[in-house]
Symmetry: C2
Subunit: 143 residues, 2 copies
């Protein structure tokens, strides 16, 4: 119905006008994938950081997002890139335990915290810029 967690999340994302920075361990929800591609087509600058191990799994949206022309970077470490957050227009932080998967949205007990409080948003913005640069393919080490 109109106020399920997925609808709330979609409503927040679809307020994006300029930028959407997404940092997600797992992204396989088709509805959220469609929303992100829609924002990209509207001219919003979308950037995605994800986990290298998870991105290749069946059902991952990452391939479709890349095909749509969206920039995606991934970790190159043995540990997980385990964040689950997004920042809309550098202004609104969406963070919590929720991966963007249908399993998590429908079956799990999860939390999502949404805030425009700069004190909380800024460290996540800083972390995004830090790992966006760290995972730049130019910096890949082959091992």
């Amino acid at each position: 119905h109109g106020d399920c967690p997925l609808s709330r999340l979609l409503r927040h994302l679809l307020t994006a006008r300029r930028s959407l920075d997404i940092c997600l361990f797992a992204f396989s929800s088709p509805q959220l994938g469609r929303a992100v591609r829609l924002l990209h087509r509207r001219g919003v600058r979308v950037r995605i950081v994800t986990d290298a191990q998870y991105m290749g799994l069946q059902g991952s949206q990452i391939g479709l997002l890349r095909q749509a022309g969206i920039q995606v970077r991934h970790d190159q470490e043995s540990g997980y890139m385990h964040h689950k957050f997004a920042v809309v227009d550098g202004r609104m932080l969406i963070t919590g335990s929720l991966n963007w998967t249908t399993q998590a949205i429908q079956n799990n007990r999860e939390n999502v915290l949404v805030t425009e409080d700069v004190e909380y948003v800024q460290p996540f913005l800083d972390e995004f810029e830090r790992i966006w640069e760290k995972y730049n393919p130019i910096n890949y080490k082959f091992f």
Copy 2:
């Protein structure tokens, strides 16, 4: 060293004087397990909610915590109890992507948000009380 993520987390936890409510998908860190048992011995009221599937895995601290006399409840659903938060003295919320595992602390890229802002703390307190009651063994359905 003194200000690694584990030290910061321990420092926050060890401020508990009256209560510690923990809601964690995975809890296997021996250091954090010791800290929680220490608080229990000091007379802090510790309550733990965890995930039924994960709690039996090798390395889980849940057995040791129960042996120490700490109350633990778990979900009885097919989905995951995927929260990763704690509330200290009903006052300080510690939440984020981090499960309390050595793997996550040492190898993953994670976030932990710490706040005493009632606006953010209260919904997590409410969620804790809700699932603490929901997972009361009295309410078990056998299936």
